[in-house]
Every structure is written in structure tokens, then in C-alpha cells.
Amino acid sequence: MSAARKGGWGMRWGGGLKPALWPGLSPALQSALFGLALLVAAPVQAVQPDEMLADPALEQRARDLSKGLRCLVCRNENIDDSDAQLAKDLRILLRERLVAGDTDEEAVAFLVDRYGEYVLLNPPATGVNILLWVAGPAMLLAGVGIAFATFRRRGQGRAEELTEAERARLAEILKE
């Protein structure tokens, strides 16, 4: 994404979207706000027919992308499923970008520029996030390694070889 465009769109931020619900707020405060919003706001349901794009291919792309974008004022909900007003705004914004000819990556980058990586439900494997992504496989390797080492150490050796005393005892039993 070019710097010029970044600046241009950056100035438009704040128009339709509520700066009060910026992700910088603590999650607890946000959820409190969300609770309040639920009490006062009229119900807006997930994706609405009037938001949808006429071009099915474009709409499908929007739907797929929406599933990976977080409704910032909700709790771990994607904008595709969310009933919040902000989610609706984001859905429309995303579709505007797609209609304007953005690729999937550009459209997502556009939102990330404005809302930070908080908007991504699938955290990119960059920087410390690599820890998150390798944690599982690393644990698996460690688990298998420890199991294997333990097995080697005390299992097999004894299973296959008899000690001198055992061998003598065995000979005795066989003689009887």
C-alpha cells in the first residue's frame, strides 16, 4: 500500500466510526461499553441484504475476509456474525474497498492501518507472534521427545535383558 493512499485514507478515519471505541481501550471497558450499547442500540443483525454486493464473486470475497476480521467492540466476534453497529460499518467499509478494486491483502491492510492488528482474528506470524504459532508444534516435539527418552531410559532395556539374578532364577524354575 502506498504512503500517499495511507495518508489520504487516514484522514478519513473518524468519519463514520466511533473513535471512542478505539481498540486502545481496555477490553473490560470495551465490553462494558458493548453492554451499554446492547441496552440502547436497536438490533442490527449480522450481514444484511442491503449491504451485500451485486457481484456474487466479490460478495463471496467480502464474506470470506469478514470472517477473519474482528468486530472491535465485541468479544472475539467476527464482523460477519456480529450484530453491532460498528461491525456493520466495517462490513460496508470492507466492501467499498473491494469495489474500489483492492486485492484481498490491500483491503485487509487498509483496515489494519486504521485499527491495528487487533482487527485480525488470525494473528500474523510476525515478531513475538511466532511464539504463538510454534508453541503447539514445539510442545508436541518436546512431548514426543520426553516420552521417547523416558521410554529408552527405563522401558526397553529391562524388557529385553534379564539380570544375572533373574537368569539364575529362570534356570532354577526351568529345572524344576
Binding site: Q48, R70, L121, G136, A147
Partner: protein, 657 residues
Amino acid sequence: MIVELGHFALILALAVAIIQSTVPLIGAQRRNAAWMAVGDPAAVVQFLLVGFSFAALTYAFVTSDFSLSLVVSNSHTLKPMIYKISGVWGNHEGSLLLWVLILALFGACAVWFGQNLPPQLKARVLAVQGMIGVAFLLFMLLTSNPFLRLAVPPLDGQDLNPLLQDPGLAFHPPFLYLGYVGLSMSFSFAVAALIEGRVDAAWGRWVRPWTLAAWVFLTIGIALGSWWAYYELGWGGFWFWDPVENASFMPWLIAAALLHSAIVVEKRESLKAWTILLAILAFGFSLVGTFIVRSGVITSVHAFANDPDRGVFILLILGVFMGGALTLFAARAGAMEAKGIFGMVSRESALVANNILLAVSAFVVFFGTIWPLVAEMVFDRKLSVGEPFFNAAFSPFVVALAAILPLGAMMPWKRGHVGRGLRPLWPVLILSVALGSLAWAMQTGRTALGPVGVVLGVWVLGGALVDFWARTGRGAALAGRLARLGRLPRADWGKMVAHGGLGVTIFAVSAMLAWKVEDIRVVQPGGSYPLGSYEVTLVEVREVEGPNYISTMAEMRVTREGVEVARLFPEKRIYPVAGMPTTEAAIDYGFLRDVYLVIGDPQENGGWAVRSYIEPFANWLWAGCLLMALGGLLSLTDRRYRVAAGARRVPDGVPAE
């Protein structure tokens, strides 16, 4: 008056719990039978006191006693009776009281069903259970007292969150808590064994039924919650990887691992230290879950309390119990020497693989759940971890687990052979791949998820059946084998049913994710539209008044080739007292698919927004979960018999084998 008595009973219960957590423990150390015996009556009395307290709170809800602040914020005179009762645990304080009630119930059950336990072990188990009771009673009395009065009672209450006014959710928390808290029993047994410094086959046999019971309850609780989300939240999803869902899923995974490793302890006297560690971790994850739900630190759709004091208190409980138990573990685990030896290819190794996969998958869920918190606090990065991450990071473990399950389940103890183990499974393997390919061929151009689900599901389910059939003896006449089916131990039935249930669940999850049909559009009253092979007509939309809500109800007709399949009435409700709207989807439940309709907002042109789904094999998901729970239950009935039998042989608790 009753309310005050309830409050007082709770304080008395704390006093009793303090006695229960100290006197029997000292008695066990000094081998003083009289002191040890204090545990029994203390546990029962604690249960009765907490039970009375719970009854008092329920009474206040049922009679709509609005002098109680908790009743005001969670009830209303117009609310149907069942939700007045479920309102008792539809909030932080009341649900905590339920938590403590179940904790005390398990302590009392250890007394009632544990007559055959060695007295020292029982005294220590009850003491540890008492300590957990002390911690949670203190937590409740100091930070979350349900019995607070209001100086000026209002005329009416503020109603329960309408989303919670639902039969599925009325019973979801009690089951979940029975599971969470049931794991405290495994924890108490583990800590008692560590204090004693001995784990033997008998210990494995005693700890299994408690873990199994807890796991069965957790399974039912999670399934109920998922089912509720499916029909109530209105977009046909059934699992969102929400922190609170993860909170219940982590202990479930660890408990499943614990169940299997306890078998190895019981049958082979191996994996002792690991099993103890799992028992500690299982309850640890229950506490982590409690922390996640109640502290509000990791926010979620259904976290009720957002109070930092409470969060700190739970963190303290978590730290004390996990820190204490793990320190004890570090000091004593070395003494747990394994007796049974096994080969690289054996039932034991297969169960170790099962344990590694389940434990690591639980760890992945845990890491993903707390990562946003860690990233923000330590690395100053505000980020989200949601469904796409969990789907990608968690699923491979399920695939691996399902792939090795049938083979591992049929492996002989001590030493096996892969080729020989596979021989009876070849037909199942061929069938599963054939059906998977068929699914692949029929669903042109979609993800591989569906066919993979078919392969794994058929493989696991078929494997469970083949395993079960093999137990009737090889080569014998058909009639003889059939006759032997009825005589097989309940545990074998349980294994077959639970493993089969897992297969069905895996298939249903992938089918629902891969083959769901969705349609969102504006429909004029009287208008029709196609949905898959069906035709849906919006007949009319009308206003309807419910007991404590106002509803916009649509009448919709679903036909197939001109024949009416169902008449559905999706609703949008407004609960005026709580000021909250809810969506009530209308679902035509079917064997192969659900038709799922949701009515949305009126449009300017007089039409209505309508969302429609075909959810393939949705019922199979709940059936699969139920089968898993049923399998556990079957196995449990076998266990009880064997616990008694084992204990009869060794009345003084000398290791059985």
C-alpha cells in the same frame, strides 16, 4: 429471615470446611483414627449447610424477594417459574454458590461412596477437598455475597438477561459446574497420593470413576452450551472459540487425557507421575476457566463479573492450589516408580500418544486464549486470537488423534505389532477412504474438509465397532459371538460407544463447516425463494405477545417439490424490562439436515430481511456428544462394581496387584 439463615449457614459452612481441611489431615499424619474420622461428618455437614444456603437463595428468587439485591438485578415477577429458578445461577454470585454447593456435594459423595477407601487416603482426600471449600467460601463471603439486602427494595426486578431465559442455558451451567468441580475430586486424590507418597493400581481405580463422572458432565455441559449457541444466537454456528468456551474445553481435553492415563496406572502401574500431573492440571484448568469467566480480564460474550478484586482473588486461589500441588509434585514425583514395562508398539505407547496429543491440544487452546493478554502486557501488542487461528492450530491434533485411535485401541498391552494390529482394520480403512472419495466426487470444487471428515469419522466409528466385535472372540461361530456381546463388561460397551461418538462428532463438525448452505435476502410477504433443494415461502409477519416479551413472528413454509416439509415461525423478541432484543431462529430438525430460518429487520420496500441456512448433519453433532457422554456413563456403571470388588479384596488398602 430465611435469607439471613442462608447467609448464616454459609458462614457456618466455612467454619466446618476449616475443620474438615485441618483435623483429618493432622489425623492422617499422626495415624490418629479419631481425628481422621472427623472428615466424614464434616464433609456431610458442609454439604447440608451449603445446601440450605442454596435453598434459601432459591426461595428468595421463587418468591421474588426484591429486598435482595441479587434478585432485583436478575429476576422479575413476570418471569416464568423455571427461569426464576435458573436465575439463581444466571449471575456471578448465585453461580458461585452453585459451584460451592457442587464442591461440597462431591466431598459428601466421597464419604458416601468411599466407604472402602483406606481411611488415611480418605481423610487426606476430604481434607484437600475441604481446603478448596475454604478458599471458595471465603471468596464468596468476601467478594461475592449473594445475600446482600437493599435498604429500599424496588417494586420489581430488572429481569434476567433474555438470552439466558432458555431451557438449554438453564441446565448448561449446572452440568458444566458438575464437570469443573468434579475434577476437584481427581485433584484431591492426586494431592492426597502425593502426601502419602504412593500411587498404585488401586489409586488408579479409585480416581477413574470421579474423573469419568466429571468428564461426562463436562461433555453434556459443553454440548448443551454449543446447542444453545446454535439455535439461540441466530447464525447457525455452534462453536466460536470464545474464551469462555475455551475455558470449558481445556479441562475437558485434559480430563480426557487423564481418563486414559489412569487406565495405564490401574492396569499396568505405569505413567504414575504423569497421571498425577494431569489430575493437578485438569483442576488447574478448571480454575483458569473460573478466572477467565469471572475476572473479565479476557472478555467474552458471557463473562458475567467484571471486577478486578474478584479476578485477583481467583488468581490467588489458583496460585496457592497450583503452586502448592506442583511443589508437592516436584518433591514427591520421583518416588512414583513405574512397575509395568512396555514395548515401543503397545497399548501403553498408544495411550501415551493419546495423552501427548490431548495435552498439547489443550495447551494450544490455552496459549491462544491467553496470548492477547500476554502480548498486551509483555510485548505491548494489542492483538486478537480468534477462530481462524484455533481452526488452523487445533485441528491437526484432532486429525492425528483420530488417525491413531482405532489402531491404538486394539493394540495389545506390553507389546504389539503394527501390521498385525491393522489386519482387522483394513476393511474399515478401505471403507472410510472409499466413502471419503465418494464425498469428494459429489461435492465438486469445495474444500477438502468435508471428505477428510468423512474419512476420519468412518475410520474412528468403524474402528470402534471392529474393536468391540473382536472382543467377542476370534474365529468362533456367529451365534456364540452374538451371545457373548451381552456378557462383555460395561467398560467395553462404554469404550465402543464413546469412541464411536467421537467419530460421529468429528464427521458432523466437518460436515457442518464444509457443506452449510446459506442464503441472505429481502423477501416480500407472500414471496418465495429457493434454498438448496427446498423452496421457502414467507407467508406473513405478525406481532405476538409473550409472557414477558413482545415478538415479531414470521410464518414461513418450507416445501420440496411442491410438498410441504415444515411450517416454521422464526421470531424477533424484545424483552421490555431488560430492554434487550433476541433472535429466535426457527429450525426444522431432520436426520440429514436442519433447515434453519431467521427473520431480520423490516425493509423500506415492505419486505423483510431473511437469513436461511441448511445445516447438514447438525443433529449428528449433538448425537455424537451424547454418545460420548453415554459411553462414559456405561463405563462408569462398570467401574462402580469394580471399585467395590477391588476394595473387597484389599480392605486395608494394600495395593491390589
